[in-house]
């Protein structure tokens, strides 16, 4: 097993593990944005740059996808690596000035603000990390959104920027968005969920009991078709919102316990 020396701390990892894996094992924090353990790695955002010591020269690499194949020495906190990461963060802050999540990460990295004006605005507050595109395609299997345009005009969009029929309203994209730009909005009156900024909408199931919206119909259907469980029982469960499900369960429990006690008393 190759050894990775990170800022002087030695850890052993499997061959072809990444420097990021090694850093996690060593307890060294490296900021990431476009990295997510559930989807393939693109190395697009470059925020995880660290310095690799090659003996006679040093090179900056992205920790998220650099495969460890032999013993290596890397520096996360070297001046050059830190400067590179902060430089990338400053550029991202200029692009997405309103993202609170990004600001929080910047602060964690010690970046106070950005010297740059906002000059690229193909999509407001989107850092184009691509996680939403990947999760929609690789995990959900819908590919309802993808990259459109290129260079500074690149955006994430549904086909022709129209509300996509392939969107099932699951909200996985919003869940992985590291800068909080993708939002799930529930339109109660219309019994619909909207994924913003993609404008796509999906019909929601509503709780049989209280009328609160629960989950998109399509998501429920897909879950039913994909999961290896007792469908009928699951279908029953899906008819109620989590809150009502809980109170129902509590009622059941209560009656079970209470009835048991009563029975015991009667017997005694």
């Amino acid at each position: 097993m190759p050894t990775v020396t990170i800022d002087g701390c030695k850890v052993e990892v499997d061959r072809d593990a990444t420097v990021l894996d090694a850093a996690k094992k060593a307890g060294v924090w490296i900021p990431t944005l476009c990295y997510h353990s559930s989807v393939s790695i693109t190395g697009a955002c470059r925020i995880c740059m660290v310095e690799l010591d090659r003996g006679d020269w040093r090179q900056l690499i992205t920790a998220c996808n650099y495969p460890v194949r032999q013993d290596i020495v890397v520096y996360v906190s070297s001046e050059r690596a830190r400067k590179a990461r902060c430089g990338i963060m400053e550029l991202l802050l200029a692009r997405s000035p309103e993202s609170e999540e990004l600001k929080a990460l910047a602060e964690q990295m010690g970046v106070k603000g950005t010297p740059y004006p906002t000059v690229t605005e193909s999509q407001r507050n989107c850092i184009l990390c691509g996680l939403c595109v990947q999760v929609c395609e690789e995990i959900i299997g819908q590919a309802a959104i993808s990259f459109a345009g290129r260079g500074v005009d690149k955006t994430v969009a549904s086909p022709f920027r129209q509300a996509s029929e392939d969107c099932i309203g699951c909200g996985a994209c919003a869940a992985v968005c590291p800068v909080g730009t993708i939002k799930v909005r529930v339109h109660k009156d219309e019994r619909e969920v909207e994924i913003s900024p993609f404008k796509s909408r999906a019909k929601l199931l509503v709780c049989k009991n209280c009328g609160a919206p629960t989950v998109s119909i399509e998501v429920a259907e897909q879950a039913l078709s994909r999961l290896d469980i007792d469908i009928e029982e699951f279908r029953q469960l899906m008819q109620f919102c989590p809150k009502c499900r809980r109170s129902q369960a509590a009622a059941c429990l209560k009656s079970a316990v209470f009835d048991k006690k009563k029975n015991e008393c009667a017997a005694g």
């Binding site: 693109t42 190395g43 697009a44 955002c45 470059r46 925020i47 740059m49 900056l60 690499i61 992205t62 996808n65 650099y66 495969p67 050059r80 590179a84 430089g87 990338i88 550029l91 991202l92 200029a94 692009r95 010297p115 740059y116 004006p117 000059v119 690229t120 850092i127 184009l128 990259f147 345009g149 290129r150 260079g151 500074v152 005009d153 690149k154």
Partner: protein, 621 residues
């Protein structure tokens, strides 16, 4: 011509065919070779070719006359070019009305038409043949040896000039390892930009465990103004195919691809014809020359994105994905096309291979400098008298290319810089003009060999604008995948824009420096990692121009609008009144016999007076 159904079944078979070709060559036969390369075709040479074909048909002579269309000669400045055999008579700037005269006088009558010969501007001497013209005699042609000579649509022409002898030799007598050793010893380095040793690349791919393996020829050529690879693919497509086939044999691949941009229709057409022809005669396909080695080639047409020339972007595009680069921590020789070991080489690199095999590694290694061997093709453009396509031995000085081949800067202007290496190359100033064409020497100067663009600039060129032009190009061509390239270039351009608009701020040069450093270190692919070169090299050699723009609001080359004024030189002004009449905003006043004056408050800097003054009395100051 090759008879239908001819199939070469052994190397010896091919050799005897060449012998019959040579013996059947009629010494008294005549030919007219019309260049249909990029430059000549743009000046209407295809029509000239048709007219010559027609003239041959109508002549009714019983001597053999052949009208051929051939690839780029290189001397595009003087196109269309027509060469007549016998005698290699070199006619330049030929126009349609010249065709009957050339046919009557030279082709039939054997008389030279002086008017159409090249005249040396300095000596006034006329040159009858190409080798008497300085533009050609400094050059050394290996890769372009067939350009301007063979008909690229006839495989027999290529074979007659020694084509496919390299492949035949490899299949008859060399092991894959011997081929790789030969290429390694020759010192051949990649011509696509990186200058990576070709032998090393092939060795790594051969040693890679997985299979199948692929070979790819990179004919994407996206540099603005470059047409080296285009001319090669159009003028001698078979040499690329032969090189690719030898590469495939060396690494153990049976499938190759040629990636060509779709804007090069004749490159695509000539390559397709050459592939079909090679397949027909048994030089591609199953069991080539009965050697047991099988290989075939497909052409893929790219949609013209610069970044698709980058090898991983190219492979993504070949696989049908968006042409965006991929991380290269594991190299394509291990995991390339479809995750399999792949060799990707530039078309010029590949076209060198047959010659190295036939003439030997030692011959090739004897040309050039210690670490840069062989020759390099450049497209020489910009402010030189002779623009065109040139192939020079490595080690030649930039000065000889600019002055001897290019004929120097026209109109008595001063040379300022030569930009090499394509859009992410750099500008080399006059004080380094004696630098040699050598991978490492050019890199040391802050430029690079690149794929062979060479743009000459004179005193009227604003170097900040040059930096801005290339930064703008690269920003437009950035795929946008990674942060530093997408955002960093946009920020750089924003600063360059304000400098050339006269709104530069103190500290802008330093700001550019910080962005440049980030760009050199952090992007995913080499487009981003080299994208700061234009800015860095102009800041290094022409810092004073940046300062003049920022601190004095002045453009020393007088190219940036608003950063210079027009004034009328009272002594030169003849008070003719032309400028006064032409000025669209009535900013010029004056009377008969009184020198005219420009009202600077009214002047919009449109430059009309400067254009129109017959006495060049209007000056930029």
């Amino acid at each position: 011509m090759i008879a239908a159904n001819t199939k070469f079944t052994s190397p010896a078979d091919l050799e005897s065919f060449v012998k019959t070709l040579h013996s059947s060559e009629d010494k008294t036969s005549r030919s007219v070779r019309v260049c249909i390369g990029t430059g000549c075709a743009a000046k209407g040479s295809r029509r000239l070719y048709e007219l010559f074909v027609e003239a041959v048909k109508q002549s009714g002579q019983d001597i053999r006359i052949e009208a051929k269309h051939v690839g780029c000669h290189g001397f595009c400045e003087r196109g269309p070019i027509v060469v007549i055999q016998p005698g290699d008579i070199f006619y330049q700037s030929v126009e349609e009305p010249d065709v009957p005269e050339i046919f009557r006088e030279t082709v039939l009558g054997g008389r030279v038409i002086k008017r159409l010969l090249y005249e040396d501007p300095s000596t006034g001497k006329k040159a009858k043949r190409a080798d008497q013209i300085p533009f050609y005699n400094v050059q050394q042609r290996i890769v372009l040896a067939n350009n301007g000579i063979i008909d690229p649509t006839e495989i027999s022409d290529y074979i007659a000039k020694g084509g496919y002898a390299g492949l035949a030799k490899v299949l008859a007598s060399m092991t894959a390892d011997e081929v790789i050793d030969e290429i390694t010893r020759s010192g051949l380095r990649g011509r696509g930009g990186g200058g990576f040793p070709t032998g090393l690349k092939w060795r790594a791919a051969k040693d890679a465990e997985e299979s199948p393996k692929y070979v790819v020829a990179n004919g994407d050529e996206g540099d603005p103004g470059a047409f080296m690879d285009r001319s090669l693919m159009e003028g001698s497509p078979s040499s690329v195919i032969e090189g690719l086939t030898i590469a495939a044999y060396a690494i153990g691949s049976s499938q190759g691809y040629i990636y060509v941009r779709n804007e090069y229709p004749f490159a695509v057409k000539h390559l397709s014809m050459a592939i079909d022809a090679a397949r027909d005669v048994g030089l591609l396909g199953q069991d080539i020359l009965s050697s047991g080695f099988s290989f075939d080639v497909r052409i893929n047409r790219g949609a013209g994105a610069f970044v698709c020339g980058e090898e991983t972007g190219l492979m993504a595009s070949l696989e049908g994905f968006t042409g965006e680069p991929r991380p290269k921590y594991i190299l394509p020789v291990e995991k390339g096309l479809w995750g399999k070991p792949s060799v990707i080489n530039n078309v010029e690199t590949l076209a060198n291979v047959p010659a190295i095999i036939v003439k030997g590694a030692n011959w090739f290694a004897s040309l050039g400098t210690e670490k840069s061997k062989g020759t390099k093709i450049f497209s020489l453009v910009g402010k030189v008298k002779n623009t065109g396509l040139v192939e020079v031995p490595m080690g030649i000085s930039l000065r000889r290319i600019v002055d001897e081949i290019g004929g120097g800067v026209p109109d008595g202007k001063q040379f300022k810089a030569v930009q090499t290496g394509g859009p992410s190359g750099g500008c080399i100033p006059a004080e380094h003009l004696d630098a040699r064409v050598d991978f490492d020497e050019l890199t040391k100067l802050g430029s690079m060999m690149g794929s062979g663009g060479m743009i000459v600039m004179d005193e009227d060129t604003c170097m900040v604008r040059v930096a801005k032009y290339f930064t703008n190009f690269l920003q437009k061509e950035s795929c946008g995948k990674c942060t530093p390239c997408r955002e960093g270039l946009a920020q750089m351009l924003y600063i360059l824009d304000r400098i050339t608009d006269g709104e530069g701020q103190v500290g802008d040069v330093e700001r550019l420096g910080v962005l440049a450093e980030l760009l050199e270190d952090t992007p995913l692919c080499a487009l981003g990692r080299t994208a700061a070169n234009p800015v860095l090299s102009t800041m290094r050699y022409f810092r004073d121009e940046y300062d003049a723009h920022i601190l004095q609001r002045r453009c020393p080359a007088k190219e940036c609008r608003g950063l210079f004024r027009y004034e009328i030189d009272a002594e030169a002004c003849k008070a003719c009144g032309i400028c006064l009449k032409e000025c669209p905003v009535d900013a010029i006043t004056g009377e008969k016999k009184v020198p005219h004056v420009i009202d600077q408050d009214k002047c919009t800097l449109c430059g009309t007076c400067w254009d129109k003054c017959p006495f060049t009395a209007v000056k930029k100051v």
